[in-house]
């Protein structure tokens, strides 16, 4: 068995060119992500839906506490200072509450048991629904 790197005359496993290429690609990706986040995805409105039916659609820069009734009971959504979150949900998992504050267009918190979806909408509609993380 050969030991990796032991063969004479073999090219190094990582060259300076490799490192430059990798760094450059990650830098481009980072730059594109930053630009995407700052400019085009600023949220303008908050939409609350229950089973796909819009129950609330308001500007993000208002302050409001909204209560909507879902399949299990009342969910409470808090909007303040350009952000929104689900504050209370009558479900077991509390995943939507733990999702925390939503800031950018496309951000979404969903309470599947209660059928409540809160999502942020930009000034211009995005070409896709959302990206899972």
């Amino acid at each position: 068995m050969e030991i990796a790197g032991s063969r004479p005359g073999w090219p190094p496993i990582v060259t300076v060119g490799d490192v430059i290429l990798i760094t450059a690609m990650l830098a481009v990706a980072g730059f594109l992500m930053l630009r995407d986040n700052s400019a085009s995805t600023a949220a303008a409105r908050v939409v609350v839906e229950v089973v796909g039916v819009s129950r609330y659609d308001g500007p993000i820069d208002s302050s409001a506490t909204i209560t909507v009734n879902g399949a299990l009971g009342a969910s409470v959504i808090r909007i303040e200072g350009g952000r929104a979150r689900i504050e209370f949900a009558p479900c077991q998992g509390q995943i939507c509450v733990l999702r925390g504050w939503l800031y950018s267009a496309g951000d979404m918190a969903a309470c599947v048991p209660n059928h409540v979806v809160v999502h942020m909408v930009g000034r211009q509609p995005r070409p896709y629904d959302g990206i899972t993380q």
């Binding site: 050969e2 004479p8 496993i13 490799d18 690609m25 481009v28």
Partner: protein
């Protein structure tokens, strides 16, 4: 047909093609975060073919993988096949060009990263053309990052595979 066919060379090439095909099919069965995100392990075999035998034979390995893989996975002729084929061949061309023009610039790992990044970009371009949906380009950063990660992994795989194949160092250095 000037030279007689070298059996050893033919066997190795056939093994690499078979390896590429198996890796391709195994990967098709694995779950993926997004339909077009995959590890691209079969690119290790294509890269090995490129470094051992040159661009022409590597193209044969890549085409065998794409055609037979498409046939066996049932995607032959479908959008995924078209997108994957165009991206796969473009990425091979990019790797071959850099390896030919600047042989000392990248190690197999760098070549693999280059191939993966080109693969991702071309894939996105073809998919966006297919769907007439420029919005796909917002996925570009994610695609670049995943290209760098998978390219690095498959590059290491190719590097170690090449060493195990115990080739004459002159053919790759």
């Amino acid at each position: 047909m000037g030279k007689p066919i070298d059996t050893r060379r033919l066997t190795r090439l056939a093994m690499l093609a078979a390896l590429a095909l198996v890796l391709f099919l195994v990967e098709t069965a694995l779950p993926r975060p997004l339909p077009w995100m995959r590890l691209g392990l079969s690119n290790s075999a294509v890269l090995a073919a490129l470094l051992l035998f040159g661009a022409g034979p590597a193209l044969v390995v890549a085409c065998t993988k794409l055609l037979v893989g498409g046939l066996l996975s049932g995607s032959l002729g479908g959008p995924a096949f078209v997108i994957g084929s165009i991206a796969g061949i473009t990425s091979l061309v990019a790797m071959a060009l850099f390896w030919r023009l600047a042989p000392r610039l990248f190690s197999p790992v760098g070549l693999s990263v280059l191939g993966a990044v080109v693969h991702q970009c071309v894939q996105l371009m073809v998919a966006a053309t297919y769907l007439g949906h420029a919005g796909l380009y917002t996925l570009l950063p994610m695609f670049l990052v995943s290209g760098v990660l998978t390219g690095t992994l498959t590059g290491f795989a190719a590097y170690f595979a090449l060493q195990r194949l115990a080739v004459n160092s002159a053919s790759i250095a």
